[in-house]
Amino acid sequence: MLKIEHLSVNYGGIEAVRDISFEVEDGAIVTLIGANGAGKSTTLRTIAGLLKPKQGSITYNGEELVGKSTNEIVSRGITLVPEGRRVFPDMTVLENLKIGAYLRKDNLDADIRWVYDLFPRLEERSWQAAGTLSGGEQQMLAVGRALMSKPKVIMMDEPSLGLAPIIVQGIFEIIKEINRQGVTVLLIEQNANMALHTADFAYVLETGRITMSGPGNDLLKDERIKKAYLGK
């Protein structure tokens, strides 16, 4: 279980995350929803070790992650699909997948197969430079690349950002599929509707604080959520 307790993070001169606590159960899909600037990305980046928290603790199966470097965190099975996909544009699709498995020393063939089965489009384009892919394909590649590290927890930062609705549908299907195959998912989204439909449990983040939490379906029915995030 990934457990965040009393986490505060300063970022860009402001306290972007203020004393938040939440949990991600093994095997669940958990989402943090909230408006732009609510501190969602900062939270994920701190868990990944890219930012240092001001205070608080992040534990995974009881082990403290605060103070560990990103590569140590990745090697413990926690990976982040960054916002804006950030595939390596000059590398081929296959190279992007291989670099996702950078810390592994075992044979990659089975996992490349697994990713190609999840995303047949990537197999068709395996020799193409990643920069030439469409936005949706790049998102698939970013997810596939993260899966190559054989994560136990995959964190996704706005996977639907800038994608056409039909593609967004597909991405969320894949998120569920990955989860069914045993990977815990921590998802942050501005697309609250999709996120709440997908997630087992959700937290609402507003200006650095968690203001609500509950099962995704419950929050979908909540009047305040409807008003603030679902536009109803």
Binding site: N71, V74, R86, F88, P89, D90, E95, Y102, S149
Partner: protein, 294 residues
């Protein structure tokens, strides 16, 4: 006929000089590719390699002093990065650039202090300085050896970058620090690796260079360093093949200009070239198109 021989000789010299510039230029271009830093101290690393060889070979046989020189140069290059650049990783780019200029002066002044400022004769390396005659062309082994060795090292390096895991990590880091970290890549190790390669090649260049211009002075690194920098910019800074092509072009052009009797202008040519490149094609021959990091 004599004229032709003369030009062939000049061309060979040009290739040699170009090879030396190329080996130095790779250090500039790789460090720039990864850190977006122009490592002003790189020419002085080249100078330091010259002095290492002078002092090592005074007491040790060549087969010890030569590898030791390469090793010490690599250690110096990595130490410079760890001490002067690494603490500034999060600082604005200008700070780290100023730090590089500081290191450059530090190395030059330390060398002046230690050597008393006197030019030191470089040890004779047997065989490679010997003269050979091919047809009408009289030349030395070093002239033949330099371009071949340069090309072999460059091909090796390009293969390393393209096909190995560490090369893949280098390409990733040069593109995107943060995402590279998310892949589990240890950024600092990759950066150190770049300085290892750059300093090693600068040390090789210094052995080749000083076998022909056999005195070492504390400021000797400045000119070859600058020329190599121009070569890197001309080829498109950040690109290894670009730096090599640029270096050979500059080496050959300089010597052709000298051959035509305008020796005074050969340095000027290089810097006019720099100005023209910066005006008309700032990304150089093979430079990456400036993509904004988002």
């Amino acid at each position: 006929m004599d004229n032709l021989t003369y030009y062939i000789q000049q061309l060979l010299t040009g290739l040699t000089v170009g090879g030396q510039y190329a080996l130095i230029a790779i250090g500039y271009t790789m460090v720039y590719g990864i850190l977006r830093l122009i490592n002003f101290a790189h020419g002085d690393i080249f100078m330091a390699a010259g002095f290492f060889m002078v002092y090592m070979s005074a007491t040790m046989p060549l087969y010890v002093s030569l590898p030791l020189t390469l090793l010490l140069t690599v250690i110096l290059g990595v130490a410079v990065e760890r001490i002067a650049y690494k603490p500034l990783r999060q600082a604005p780019r200008m700070s780290i650039m100023i730090s590089a200029i500081g290191v450059s002066y530090l190395l030059q002044n330390f060398a002046t202090y230690y050597t008393g400022g006197l030019p030191r004769p470089y040890p004779k390396i047997p065989l490679i300085g010997d003269v050979i005659v091919i047809g009408n062309v009289t030349t030395s082994w070093i002239t033949i050896l330099t371009p071949i060795l340069t090309l072999a090292l460059v091909i090796g390096l390009v293969m390393l970058i393209k096909y190995t895991k560490v090369g893949m990590a280098m390409r990733a880091v040069s593109r995107d620090f943060e995402t590279a970290q998310l892949m589990g890549i240890k950024i600092n190790n990759v950066i150190s690796m770049t300085f290892v390669i750059g300093s090693f090649l600068a040390a090789v260049a210094s052995v080749l260079f000083f076998s022909k211009y056999p005195t070492v002075t504390p400021t000797i690194g400045a000119m070859p360093g600058l020329k190599a920098f121009v070569a890197a910019v001309f080829g498109g800074i950040g690109s290894v093949p670009g730096a090599v092509v640029g270096a050979f072009v500059i080496g050959i052009c300089e010597n052709i200009i000298k051959a035509m009797g305008y020796t005074t202008f050969s340095d000027a040519f290089t810097f006019v070239l720099l100005i023209l490149v910066l005006i008309f094609k700032p990304t150089g021959l093979f430079g990456e198109k400036s993509t904004e990091k988002v």
